[in-house]
Symmetry: C2
Subunit: 192 residues, 2 copies
């Protein structure tokens, strides 16, 4: 069974985080949610979520996938947490998957793993970062090696489905997608 | 300021509930989440959410909109709760909005407010209900008077946006929708 860690910082975007967590569970991937500190976490739109554990405890395991939800100030708290930066680097250098959506790609840039990479993100959310050696696209989901990025709440479902496809294959992705009863078809939404 | 009550029963579909709560907050609608009993609620895919209050306390106020998320066994707990049934009837007879998604339209049928109405729901989720005087469509969102229904996680965003449009108008809906960075266009998704 593959596993995934979703890190929840105060002010995370609850729709992005829950979309990923819900869909990964539907795909029979073990999901661990972890707060930066022990206890409930208040999301960007005031939803209060109780994570499975805090990050110190979560870091006793390794994960096939680490997911960083967006939302502000959540993504900035992730950027400033040395444990998150170290985890992202370790994940990258061990060729394991990293997913970041909305404002969270800034964490990957802060970790120094995006040189010559192609990313997508929430429009304008990387304006304060040095992106001179990064290609930023307007795709809904962008896969560059083991770095998977996406734009925002409206693309979170495609992001989660792409992560499922990378971890569990196309058939599992299609099974999960069918269970959602989507009425939209993505339009030119993926760059790989 | 308009207000909305979202009722969270054990086993509710977290993606549906959070999508509605997140988007209503983006539209500056006051959102109250209430559990059937005090304390945290475990959702269908194991997310643990701390509601604002329990239902007894929430029922001290009235709401412009009452939302019933789907998910099982969540929707069945809603159906069996006499307070929820009484609230749905009161909401209906006072011409206030009711939203139900996925398996939750069965609550509206149990409350006896669906005679000659047009609804949509999660495929197959009303098989055990008496739907002889109800029209069931395959649209993503269905608006019949003040009853608004939808099909599942994949249509939750359209459902939430439709509720915003009914409460706050088209301009507010468009502002919220633009903030989401959607990459899909609904196809023949709405019946009114």
């Amino acid at each position: 069974m593959q596993n995934a860690l979703v890190i929840l910082a105060e002010g995370f975007e609850e729709l992005e985080a829950i979309t990923v967590m819900d869909l990964l569970v539907r795909a029979n991937i073990e999901v661990v949610s972890a707060g930066l500190i022990p206890g409930p976490v208040v999301a960007a739109r005031q939803t209060v979520i109780v994570p499975n554990m805090d990050l110190d405890e979560a870091l006793e395991e390794t994960y096939d996938l680490v997911v960083l939800p967006g939302g502000l100030p959540g993504a900035d708290y992730l950027t400033k947490d040395s444990r998150v930066i170290a985890l992202v680097r370790e994940q990258y250098h061990n060729n394991r998957l990293i997913g970041a959506i909305c404002a969270a790609p800034r964490v990957l840039i802060a970790a120094g793993i995006c040189h010559d990479k192609t990313l997508c993100c929430y429009p304008g959310s990387l304006d304060q970062q040095d992106t001179t050696d990064i290609q930023i696209t307007n795709d809904a989901v962008c896969v560059d090696g083991q770095i998977v990025t996406s734009r925002g709440p409206g693309t979170a479902m495609d992001f989660a489905l792409q992560l499922i496809e990378l971890l569990e294959g196309t058939a599992k992705r299609e099974t999960v997608e069918a269970s959602l009863v989507r009425h939209q078809k993505p339009e030119a939404s993926l760059c790989i």
